[in-house]
């Protein structure tokens, strides 16, 4: 289960004045919400006796260790931190994960469908391509039986179900489950669970970015609107706009 440390979803991000990025200094960071759902799903598979071991992986700065400890406190068995201070794009993340998959041979890799910072929605699909495995993206229901996973996916018009031969790659949607909170005793226990420290070089992956960010700017601001006093005034406005006859 790969997890990412991102800006907390309740924080309104601020763009730096010099246009180089979003200001992350002294901002609350948390586990990406979709990744919490992935961890939860893996734990449920273990509780059902389907999964035997859960390995949480994170790629990023030293502090990503806290994110892994959170996953361990929720119920993951051990963790791998691939430490780097560089910005790592989904393609490089997928390559590192592929190397870890080759080493660990998991039956399932469960990722979040997207990280709420870069909003890419790519890593799971890329990992599936690199490993040559089937993908079940935007999962809202997952059932594993024998050597196949049945995944119900959220698609534009509704839901769709696919059957995937294991090993497979799954990405989670928000409605897959309700992640549990880590209890204090479990947080304490998580401190003694194994956490391996690695670097991208250990996996022979070059993290040089393919996309250069030239500029990060604020989106256009909406000008303040007006408040109307009652329904009649609103109806008049709608008629003026030509929305209503």
């Amino acid at each position: 289960v790969p997890v990412k440390r991102v800006i907390d979803y309740n924080v309104k991000p601020r763009v730096k004045m010099d246009g180089t990025g979003v200001d992350l200094a002294n901002v609350k960071m948390s586990m990406n919400p979709f990744d919490e759902i992935s961890v939860e799903e893996a734990i449920r598979l273990k509780e059902k006796g389907v999964a035997t071991e859960i390995v949480a992986v994170s790629i990023g700065v030293a502090k990503a260790q806290e994110t892994l400890r959170t996953a361990l406190a929720m119920g993951a068995d051990r963790a791998i931190l691939v430490q780097t201070d560089d910005e790592v794009e989904p393609l490089a993340v997928a390559k590192i994960l592929k190397a870890i998959v080759d080493e660990e041979q998991p039956g399932l890799v469960i990722l979040g469908k997207q990280a709420i910072d870069d909003d890419s929605n790519q890593t799971g699909q890329m990992l599936a391509a690199l490993t040559g495995r089937p993908q079940g993206t935007f999962a809202n229901k997952l059932e594993v039986a024998g050597d196949a996973a049945t995944v119900t996916r959220e698609v534009d018009g509704g839901l769709e179900t696919v059957k995937l031969a294991l090993p497979a790659i799954i990405t989670t949607d928000l409605r897959l489950n309700e992640p549990r909170y880590a209890s204090l005793p479990n947080i304490m226990k998580a401190k003694s669970k194994p956490l391996a420290n690695k670097t991208p070089a250990d996996y022979g992956v070059d993290t040089a970015t393919r996309l250069q960010t030239l500029k990060v700017s604020e989106p256009p601001k909406r000008s303040a609107g007006i408040k109307v006093a009652d329904v009649d005034e609103l109806v008049a406005k709608l008629k003026n706009m030509g929305v209503a006859a």
């Binding site: 890419s120 699909q125 690199l130 993206t137 995937l164 700017s217 989106p219």
Partner: protein
Amino acid sequence: MKTLVWVEHDSGAIKDATLSAVTAAAKLGEVHMLVAGSGVGAVGEAAAKIAGVGKVHVADDAAFDHVLPEAIAPLVVDLMGHHDAFVAPATANGKNIAPRVAALLDVMQISDILSVEGDNTFTRPIYAGNAIATVKSSDSKLVITVRGTAFEKAAREGGSGAVEAVSGSGENAGSSFVGAEISKSERPELTSAKIIVSGGRALQNSENFHSIIEPLADKLGAGVGASRAAVDAGYVPNDYQVGQTGKIVAPEVYIAVGISGAIQHLAGMKDSKTIIAINKDEDAPIFQVADIGLVGDLFKIVPELTEKL
């Protein structure tokens, strides 16, 4: 530059999202199309009529039904031997296929672009639309998904592309289609509706959602959307969800009823031309982006509004 555009189609009709992708692709150069599925001859003909389209590649094979990315991605990779860019609308299918294609080509994908700034420079939203990044690709081939609401739709008529059959291997890395539950609706499709009426948690239950939101939408000929809270509470199916993780919409008029306006919801609708908010909490964040706000009880206001329209 030669681009290959993924044609999103459904029971014989090309979806609007494809037309926006064609407009984006035309800014890069020559536009070719890819239509895949079984019995898609008519879709291929329709694609060839889209204004500005050159060649249309038609892969007619049951292996390409249901758009399984395991089968589609190798087909696209084959065609990328003589195309410089793969452009897909940022729909559920586009997002499912494009990164798989990109990884097979060993290039980074550029997600959900808002504009084409140059041959290899694009803008895209990050942090739930709270920042816009301008990115330049150094890859030899481009793989791009396009935000439909950010580009005009290409005209469905006026083109005269040549249709050419392509055969793919239909090779599939272990996935098969089981079934689908597609919501049926007489109302306009959310992502292309001109007016949207959207409901939130304040509706309290599914019955209220249907009896309050839907009559107003029908009166206006509008599509119906919802906040995540309304979907999670089971008032409506999840394909109604507007937001960072749901659909991105930019209608002429967006009417938010009983929606507080969380960052994640705003990410999906703040490019709407006119936003109207109806909420009893005058401090709700939705009023900071609304052009017209009405503070009050939606259970009283909305039926009255529906009646007076």
